[in-house]
Symmetry: none
Subunit: 238 residues, 2 copies
DNA sequence: CCCTGGAAATTGGTCCTACCAATTAAACCA
DNA sequence: TGGTTTAATTGGTAGGACCAATTTCCAGGG
């Protein structure tokens, strides 16, 4: 079994709480079991449960009231990381589109900031990912991972801890989004080369410290993904 | 424990840790006393110390290594140059600054999308908030709430559920951020009028469906807050 | 003298139990 | 029936114990 021995208990508890919320279909504003119940349920100490709840609270996923209990945030149930979003039906297109808008919002700014502040280590990390991306022409899943890593490393290069944290929080959704859009992009083979080139251009802009070009290229990158998605779905471009 | 019953213990511990870092002049990357020492030093349980350290870690102020200890974060960028600012104060400013960058990222895009899609209901809600903002000249806290609500309603007007959820998730941090920046902005009275005018202009751009002007005004709004923050802190504008 | 390997001390991670404080639900009386 | 009091529930804090990772230090060998 492939386990990460470095994972802390409270991190495992966070995942179990997320699963619990989904399986029991706890609505926004709904109350979670008490800390003592969660502890005995998961077979961990109340300490670890409290650390997990504290972490979830700090991310705005739930609210803890002394004497009252822990309550899911009003609109946040969906963002608690559900895995079942891999299926793509017509209803999910809107979701993919929303995610692309969200990505445009902070990835464009991230590219700009990265061009300002990327360290040699940041640039090296991005270059390595580009290498993996080039090698991933035959392996779609490898390409998705490299794509995700590229955008995560760009976020890292901003040196903005909040933005980095947010990006990691959204990493699963980002991966999901990239996988979904790639399914539509890569019907033809040469799309691979184009996509690689887009990422390479963004990297070069960041490396040269040209923040305006970096943000513009990222903006066009997102726009291109979006228009291709719409075209392949027979939707009007927005 | 005999203390202020309003604040949680771990919050008090956070302040005491900050004070400790100042008095002992702990450098970036420097190590803090062990959890046990801090607990006995402050007269609290190790639990509370751990909660405090955990909170500081989540904000990026320090790093916790099992078996190693707790280490102050390395300053990622040159905020130094001002000897009056303490290390922790610098970290707080960094946090405020990071939040402003994050806000620029998706509030600018949100303003643009809002200009495209705002419904009459959305516009009405924003107008009402503007009214509250105008009345809040004498009540700082009321002004903060109205300011927060303004930006939340702009996000609502995007019709992008992911963006709306994200904004609500970040609402607490947004409120903290606005409160912190207003502390520096509103040393003079006429700042109130200017701030109101900025928000009003953004609203008018959204109402008229001018997405470019809306995003540009929002961008300038954030830039102005940021430059004023830096000026009041004696930092170089970026 | 260095350095290398491993034992011992240090330190964060987790668990347990107990009690305090705030909230909620139930019981009670008018 | 309605409001108040009481009890049960739940989160907050304390303190002790042990585990796991890291660091420190020292003896032994080069």
């Amino acid at each position: 079994m492939l386990v990460n021995p470095k994972k802390r208990t409270y991190e495992l508890v966070i995942e179990q709480i997320q699963t619990l919320c989904l399986e029991n279909n706890i609505p926004p504003g709904g109350r979670l079991p008490s800390e003592r119940d969660l502890a005995s349920l998961f077979g961990v100490s109340r300490n670890s449960v409290r650390e997990a709840l504290k972490g979830l609270e700090s991310k705005g996923f739930l609210e803890i009231r002394q004497g009252g209990g822990s309550f899911l945030a009003e609109t946040k149930r969906d963002i608690l990381g559900n895995e079942l979003g891999s299926r793509i039906d017509a209803a999910e297109i809107q979701y993919i589109d929303d995610m692309l808008e969200l990505r445009r919002a902070f990835e464009v700014e991230a590219a700009s900031l990265a061009a300002q502040r990327a360290t040699p280590e940041n640039l090296l990390a991005i270059r390595e990912v580009l290498g993996q991306m080039a090698l991933a022409a035959t392996d779609p899943e490898l390409g998705v991972q490299a794509d995700v890593d590229f955008h995560l490393h760009v976020a890292n290069a901003t040196q903005n801890q909040l933005l980095i944290d947010l990006m990691e929080t959204l990493a699963k959704r980002l991966e999901e989004n990239i996988r979904a859009t790639r399914r539509h992009r890569f019907t033809e083979a040469e799309r691979h080369q184009e996509t690689y080139h887009e990422h390479e251009e963004i990297y070069l802009a960041i490396e040269s410290g040209n923040r305006e070009r970096a943000s513009q290229l990222m903006n066009e990158h997102i726009s291109r993904i979006r228009s291709e998605l719409h075209r392949s779905m027979g939707l009007p471009p927005k």
